[in-house]
């Protein structure tokens, strides 16, 4: 064993009470970091998952028909006066040549899956009840690779034929229907079709579960008067947080409007980011407190051990070796504290997940400790310990052996 390590361990064991206290303090700090990161990480992941459970990462739509300002001849050069604006009537429009665009998008290495969708407003009619709905004509096979409705079916299946429909659980409750019942759907354009309910899904978003009506692409095209056309192409990308850049690239490439989930959920992203920032701030303060704790214990130890340091120097210990003895103590305190802290943090997180549950036994908070988090916590604590020990180590190494050894 290297002599510095040997002495560091002996000194730590000698000051058992102080060592234990510091290790406990570092442990508390590290467990706060681990627990907080696990909680916030879990919350963020579940929020994103919830959001993306009903959304494609990127949606490609046709260019908006711009409100056309009617230009008058300019009164003087450089001045344009806009007068009446005419907003085009809202109607479902198709992407021109969508099959080719879809093939191009599918070939993009960033794209994991792409699916054609036709959407438009309508009403679901059952007896005298009538609900405003969003009709989505989808290709179930490829759609589930973009939005995972198939895993969120509470009954039945997705539509397999032009006469079948899958509806949200809220809508099913509102209308008092279940799988096998008939449902009449009327598009805003006036067309009406009668469908059989093949499935009921719950995506976890009230708005979506109360309004979405899924039919096959062909049935949707007929209903929405857009035979052969699609109103959007929806994509899943590989790099979730690169979606805005990918979308921008697609806009530039196709000339269509490509919007990412990040643009549509800008507020959520801002919230996530500020949450991340505040958790970082807490971590910084915890690290600071841990550093101060380790430093103060080692500074006291150096003062107490002046004589012993003098003896060690007299016995042939170099300044560097003396410094190493205290650096190792700092690192070891950080290391042991982090092990205690990780164990505590994981324990509390597990306890939290077990006890904070809803009546169905599902965890209220999606808390998850990732292995990388553990490694990062240990590395931070180790580094912190070493840095905290710098000052005491320097002081120890500078002690004059003759002065340190003089008996008072």
């Amino acid at each position: 064993m290297p002599v510095a390590l040997f002495l560091a361990l002996k000194f730590l064991r000698e000051g058992k009470a102080a060592s234990t206290l510091v290790i406990a303090a570092v442990g508390v700090g590290v467990s706060v970091i681990v627990f907080l990161s696990a909680l916030i990480g879990g919350l963020q992941r579940s929020l994103i998952e919830k959001t993306l459970g009903t959304q494609a990462h990127v949606v490609v739509r046709p260019q908006e028909e711009r409100p056309r300002p009617q230009l008058r001849p300019a009164p003087s050069e450089g001045v344009i006066v806009a007068s009446r604006e005419q907003r085009p009537a809202q109607r479902v429009r198709s992407i021109v040549g969508w099959q080719r665009t879809m093939a191009e998008l599918a070939a993009d290495p960033e794209v994991e899956a792409v699916t054609p969708v036709v959407t438009g407003p309508g009403f679901a009619v059952r007896g005298t009840a009538s609900k405003s709905v969003a009709v989505l004509g989808i290709d179930p096979a490829s759609y589930v690779r973009v939005v995972t409705v198939d895993t969120r079916l509470v009954a039945g299946a997705l539509p397999r034929s032009g006469t079948e429909v899958a509806i949200g659980s809220e809508l099913a409750d509102d209308l008092g229907v279940e799988v096998g019942d008939k449902l009449r759907i009327q598009a805003a354009g006036g067309r009406t079709e009668l469908f059989t309910i093949a499935g009921v899904f719950r995506l976890g978003n009230r708005e979506v579960d109360a309004r979405w009506v899924l039919v096959t692409l062909r049935a949707g095209q007929t209903l929405l008067d857009l035979v052969g056309g699609v109103s959007s192409l929806e994509l899943r990308v590989r790099a979730l947080f690169e979606a805005d850049r990918t979308a921008a690239r697609m806009t530039a490439h196709t000339g269509l409007v490509a919007e990412s989930w990040m643009q549509l959920n800008a507020e959520l992203l801002t919230a996530l980011r500020s949450q991340g920032a505040s958790s970082l701030l807490i971590q910084v303060f915890v690290v600071l407190a841990v550093t101060i704790g380790i430093t103060s214990v080692l500074v006291v130890s150096v003062v107490q051990k002046r004589r012993e340091i003098g003896i060690l120097r007299a016995m042939g210990a170099t300044r560097r070796r003396i410094a190493a003895v205290f650096l190792i103590q700092g690192g070891a305190l950080g290391m042991m504290g982090s092990i205690v802290g990780v164990a505590t943090g994981v324990g509390v997180a597990t306890l939290f997940r077990r006890t904070a549950v809803d009546p169905r036994g599902q965890p209220l908070f999606p808390i998850e400790v990732e292995p990388s988090l553990v490694l990062v916590a240990v590395a931070i604590a180790l580094g912190t310990g070493l840095i905290a020990a710098l000052l005491p180590a320097l002081r120890a190494s500078r002690l004059d052996p003759a002065v340190a050894i003089r008996h008072e």
Binding site: V3, E308, I311, A314, M315, G316, A317, A402, H407
Partner: protein, 236 residues
């Protein structure tokens, strides 16, 4: 310098060594000391309190540097050595025994004795323990090897300190009042122990003592008064 050279040169050689403390006023604690100690000598350093005995021992032990003058250890001019070289030379050439034994309470008796070997090599080895146990046996403490030193008596602690100072077989052993806080009988035993090692291994010993009786039993008595060597005689 070669090993042979080291063996031929005196263990210690001082010419005009001066040690001063403080800036304004400057206190001269050691004044133009000339001294030469040969291999295997057993010398006592005596003098009144405050005469500079400990200060001189610190210089000889390379724990401190002279303000002026020449100090050679095993023929090497220490003024030319940097801190690391001084540390290395000290670890190899000089053993210390202090009045307050200065053992490390964090370590057991045998670990204390191992220290000079371990520090010289940079790492612990099984053979160090064997050598340290042998050293403890020589001072009659083999049975207490793994005890914390705080549980040993004053005389026993001093024996451990002697074993530690001798374990590397340094050519020079410096002892600052090694029997100072021991009762007469224990002091006598410790002194005899030092004498025995001096005869057995031909190490040079320089022992500070306040006891005229013990001083008379040395080969040579060096007297220091007010930082000057005023006497250097051979009792027998």
């Amino acid at each position: 310098m070669s090993d042979a050279g080291e063996r031929d040169a005196p263990v210690l050689e001082l010419r005009g060594v001066i040690k001063e403390f403080g800036q304004d006023p400057v206190t001269r604690v050691l004044d133009r000391i000339d001294l030469r100690i040969e291999h295997g000598e057993f010398a006592a350093l005596v003098g009144p309190s405050g005469s500079g005995k400990s200060t001189l021992l610190n210089l000889l032990g390379l724990l401190d540097r002279p303000t002026a003058g020449e100090l050679r250890v095993l023929g090497r001019d220490t003024a030319t050595l940097d801190d690391a070289a001084i540390t290395a030379l000290r670890g190899r050439a000089i053993g210390f025994v202090f009045q307050f034994h200065h053992l490390l309470p964090a370590l057991s008796a045998v670990e204390n004795v191992m220290l000079p070997l371990v520090l010289a090599q940079g790492r612990t080895r099984a053979s160090d323990r064997t050598a340290a146990l042998e050293g403890l046996r020589e001072v009659g403490l083999a049975a207490r090897a793994d005890e914390r030193t705080t549980r040993l008596s004053g005389g026993q602690q001093q024996r451990v300190a002697i074993a530690r100072a001798l374990v590397g077989r340094p050519p020079l052993l410096l002892a600052d009042e090694p029997t100072g806080n021991l009762d007469t009988q224990t002091a006598d035993e410790i002194f005899e122990l030092l004498r025995e090692f001096n005869r057995r291994w031909r190490m040079a010993f320089l022992v500070v003592t306040h006891s005229p009786e013990l001083a008379e039993r040395c080969d040579r008595v060096i007297t220091l008064v007010d930082g000057r060597v005023v006497g250097d005689r051979r009792p027998r």
